[in-house]
């Protein structure tokens, strides 16, 4: 049911509007929702370009994150000694503050797409690598022995048991990565860009246009939710058996 959350949001917006007007809060601190809406109408024509840039960075970066994350998982699972060598490095990579890394990447790779894609990939590959490794390691030993007993070689074991076993974990990781991808792209743009929602925010901020900043915040949230929903949909299509209702069936 969508009714309760919608009602709550309407209520909060109304409280915000009334509060800001009652206490005469200046617009450069907190504009009321009606002003945010007006700001949205103002920038409506320029927003799609920024959204397109940010989404391109997020999706391309996520693509790299998938390739690197899955390759890492496959490598670490097939050569157990590598797991001990690589895992600390993997965790370390997540302790690098992106806000510090972003300017460096801009220095190294310029103002174009590359540094943003790298930041998204750096943020995104970790959940995918960890979840996929876990999924591969937790494949049912008996199932592997079953197909081996049928005469399956390494490749057939991989295709018929390991990959399908790891798919749910992989998608769980991807869902986390997809949620952070847009945010990571925005951070990348913050440092220096010629287009994108990050740039839009930087400009709005330096002009004290809090209403426009809030528009960008809402757009970023919406785009993140869309990415999450898209991954969820793909997961559903890839693993239809996980969404079968067994209730009411004769068992």
């Amino acid at each position: 049911m969508a009714a309760p959350p919608v009602a709550l949001i309407v209520l909060l917006l109304a409280a915000w509007e009334v509060g800001v007007r009652t206490f005469a809060v200046p617009g450069y601190m907190l504009p009321p929702p009606s002003d945010v809406w007006t700001a949205f109408l103002e920038v409506r024509s320029t927003l799609p370009d920024h959204i397109r840039t940010t989404m391109t960075e997020a999706i391309v970066g996520l693509g790299f994150a998938i390739v690197v994350g899955v390759a890492f998982a496959a490598l670490v699972v097939s050569i157990p000694q590598l797991r001990r060598a690589f895992y600390p490095l993997l965790v370390l990579s997540q302790n690098i503050p992106m806000i510090v890394m972003a300017p460096l990447l801009v220095v190294w790779f310029g103002f174009g797409l590359t540094p943003k894609v790298l930041i998204v990939a750096l943020v995104g590959f970790f959940p995918i690598a960890v979840a996929t490794t876990d999924g591969l390691l937790r494949a049912d030993r008996d199932l592997i022995e079953l197909v081996r007993g049928m005469g399956a070689g390494r490749w057939q074991v991989l295709r018929s048991v390991l990959v399908p076993s790891a798919l749910p974990s992989f998608f769980a990781g991807l869902q986390i990565s997809a949620t952070y991808a847009v945010l990571a792209a925005v951070i990348g743009e913050w440092v220096g860009a010629s287009s994108g929602l990050g740039l839009f925010i930087t400009r709005a901020q330096s002009a004290f246009r809090v209403d426009r900043v809030l528009v960008a915040v809402i757009v970023i949230a919406a785009v993140s939710i869309a990415m999450f929903a898209a991954v969820h949909l793909i997961a559903r299509l890839a693993m239809p058996y996980r969404y079968v209702s067994t209730e009411g069936e004769e068992r």
């Binding site: 007993g149 049928m150 399956a152 068992r251």
Partner: protein
């Protein structure tokens, strides 16, 4: 070497502290096209024997051959059905049925065609596109058996295929397996600890001792087929069952004396 299953002086020790001797010098021959049952208490190495024949476990000593080919360390030579039904949850019923055939290199179209024919006989028609999670326990087990039958291998190894089923379903499966096997005609080795199941289904029953597994008796079952649950009450059947029980008696140590409350134990 002869056709069928041939096992010679099979000994297997599982590493550990202390090492466990699972099989001790086991030898047996199952001629081609016969249905053999292996009966023994838990820990008699029944499953170990099947895993050796399936090429999944290298025994410490001994030889094992199927139709004259050595099978030790060579998986894929026989059709093996493990204890759990082990259906792949991400494959539909029909695709699960053809898994073994696909891995064995049977073209998909041909495997599907053969599966469709058997679906009816295995009581699964109409469920081809269902997911395993939507099947009942008996249906899952029949699907696992169908998958085993669909593999183009000369020998079928069944490890307690009906162990998880209730008595009524199990009886149905016995009638039905006999019928399926009669048309199929391949060599079968069935592991079970249900004596009636062994006598209803098999031509010959091998009895193994408690750990370490040794062959203690070979009992032929010359009863006419098809055999039903009714036949378990005939004098001939009861006589055979008594022989199996006697053979098992010899290998099963008497129950350990329970702690008896003091004062109740009568003086010897």
């Amino acid at each position: 070497m002869t056709a069928g299953i041939s096992v010679q002086h099979l000994t297997h020790r599982f590493a550990g502290a202390p090492p466990v001797l699972a099989l001790d010098g086991l030898s047996l021959e199952v001629p081609q096209g016969r249905f053999a049952a292996v009966v023994g208490p838990s820990g008699s190495g029944k499953s170990t024997l099947l895993r050796v024949l399936a090429g999944l476990l290298r025994p410490s000593e001994g030889r094992a051959a199927v139709d004259g080919h050595e099978v030790i360390g060579e998986p894929g030579g026989v059709s093996f059905m493990p204890q759990r039904d082990l259906l792949l949850p991400w494959r539909r019923v029909l695709a699960n049925a053809t898994l073994g055939a696909e891995i064995a290199g049977v073209p998909r179209a041909e495997a599907h065609e053969r599966a469709e024919v058997l679906m009816e006989r295995f009581g699964l028609s109409g469920f081809e596109q269902a997911w395993p999670s939507q099947l009942s326990g008996g249906m899952r087990q029949r699907l696992a058996l169908l998958r085993t039958f669909l593999m183009p291998r000369p020998v079928l190894l069944l490890d307690e295929p009906f162990g998880a089923l209730d008595a009524i379903t199990r009886r149905e499966m016995h009638a039905w397996l006999q019928e399926v096997w009669r048309r199929d005609g391949r060599t079968v080795m069935l592991v079970t600890h249900d004596i009636e199941e062994a006598l209803v289904l098999a031509d010959v029953v091998y009895i193994l001792s408690r750990r370490p597994g040794r062959l203690v008796a070979t009992i032929d079952v010359p009863l006419p087929r098809p055999r039903t649950a009714r036949d378990t009450t005939t004098p001939a059947f009861v006589e055979l069952k008594a022989r199996v029980l006697d053979a098992l008696e010899g290998v099963t140590p008497p129950e350990e004396p329970r702690a008896v409350p003091s004062g109740q134990r009568s003086a010897p």
